[in-house]
Amino acid sequence: MTEPMTRLTESTLDPATAVYDYTIPAGEPWLHELRKGQTLRILDLEGNQAVDTLFYNARDPAERYSAVDTIRAQGSIYLTTGSRLLSTDGNLMLTILADTCGRHDTLGGACAAESNQVRYALEKRPMHNCRDNYLLALAESDYDMGKRDLTSNINFFMNVPVTPEGRLTFEDGISEAGKYVELRAEMDLIVLVSNCPQLNNPCNAYNPTPARMLIWD
């Protein structure tokens, strides 16, 4: 219960030995499987890019990442090196092994047409958003998954502080170009990402940019 705010840890993995290397263009989804024991690096190529991420047990997608179980178990709302990402069934899904950003959000959720309407203006519904990415990626996949599978996600590289008075704010990012986070899969996983297209708040510094995904065996 005495987790420090940030634990900056660099990785020793060499991108030249990665078995997978893909750059998600700004504002697009990414759906990929990760086998137990593989390591995923998410790289913020240009800085302050929120990477909205959900994890599912590939054998039983009804078991999925649980934000509230994860933060309660570690006693801290921010994710960083050493954080153990837990499932809705209480099982370990992934461990964060390296982190050069230091703090990742899991309370702010993913933007949606409907939440943009509430937060900014009813006329904002046509703007591209993360939940549209999620819905289209799942609809076009072979998985029998959809809206019911969209739950509280992780926003890698995003800064959403909670104050001692209970206020929640979206602050300017603390990430910058070249920062990354690295996670080891502790079970076979489906990874669903929206490279956030939000233009209404500072989560992407008002400039959505690409994110690079690397996988090692």
């Binding site: 309370l107 959720g109 939440s115 009813l122 001692p164």
Partner: protein, 245 residues
């Protein structure tokens, strides 16, 4: 602060939900639910779904970021994932209700309170928040995919500047109450297990009183509608859903 007593002729249902038990029911639009912690130190975990389309459900992140808050009190609302309001917090004597800690599970209850099976303890056996939610959800055709982040009424968990979470013991005083008004027909799923961060090693789950009553019409200057511009838009979205805008 809500100190008024609800007029008896507006009450349509009353029941006492014992500690570590669950209930689910449809709170019709225009009705309100009062939760009361008569003994103090209680916890009431809650989930909310659109009764007509249970795919639309309470969304913790949308609720928090729309209102720039990490907790709920009078003037706040609970948003669905569709930009609409399920229930509004129209009264509160407590000042803070937790939204970020989830519920206990069987392993947590066993570790904190020891094993107490039905075989030895009959109906005093230990229940857990997750299990009770799954039982109630199952009655409506819902299951693990629908078990999302919940509200813990009467419980307070603060976050310090380093991000550390701390449960505040004794937050809910005897007689504490909170009033929730349905802005659409809402499936309400409740359980009264102890908060998952409550460090008290004694198994002493508290009962919660439930009172359903006819709410006053929502006024133009309603505190939940006017507490922030976002909620004005949330009420507008909900009115569109009701074909009233």
């Amino acid at each position: 602060m809500t100190t008024d007593t609800t007029e008896t002729d507006r009450i349509v249902h009353f029941e006492l939900l014992p500690g570590a038990r669950s209930w689910s029911f449809i709170l019709r639009r225009g009705f309100a639910l009062r939760l009361a912690d008569r003994r103090g130190g209680g916890n009431c975990s809650a989930l909310f779904y659109n009764a007509q389309d249970k795919l639309e459900r309470y969304n913790m992140a949308d609720t928090l970021k729309a209102q720039h808050t990490a907790c709920l009190t009078k003037g706040h609302v609970c948003y669905s994932d569709m930009g609409r309001i399920l229930v509004s917090v129209v009264g509160d004597s407590c000042g803070w209700h937790d939204t970020i800690s989830g519920v206990s599970n069987a392993a947590l209850v066993r570790e904190r309170y020891g094993e107490a099976r039905y075989q030895e303890h009959r109906n005093a056996f230990h229940r857990d928040g997750r299990g009770l939610f799954l039982i109630e959800l199952g009655k409506w055709g819902l299951g693990r995919k629908d078990l999302v982040a919940n509200v813990n009424f009467f419980s307070k968990v603060v976050v310090d500047e380093a991000g550390r979470m701390a449960f505040i013991p004794g937050h809910s005083q005897p007689g504490a109450q909170v009033d929730l008004r349905a802005e659409m027909d809402t499936l309400v799923v409740l359980n009264t297990c102890p908060h998952p961060l409550d460090p008290n090693p004694q198994w002493s789950p508290r009962p919660i009183e439930l009172t359903v009553y006819r709410a006053e019409p929502v006024a133009e200057d309603d505190i939940c509608r006017t507490s922030c511009p976002e909620n004005g838009r949330g009420f507008a979205n909900t009115a569109i859903y009701h074909c009233q805008y």
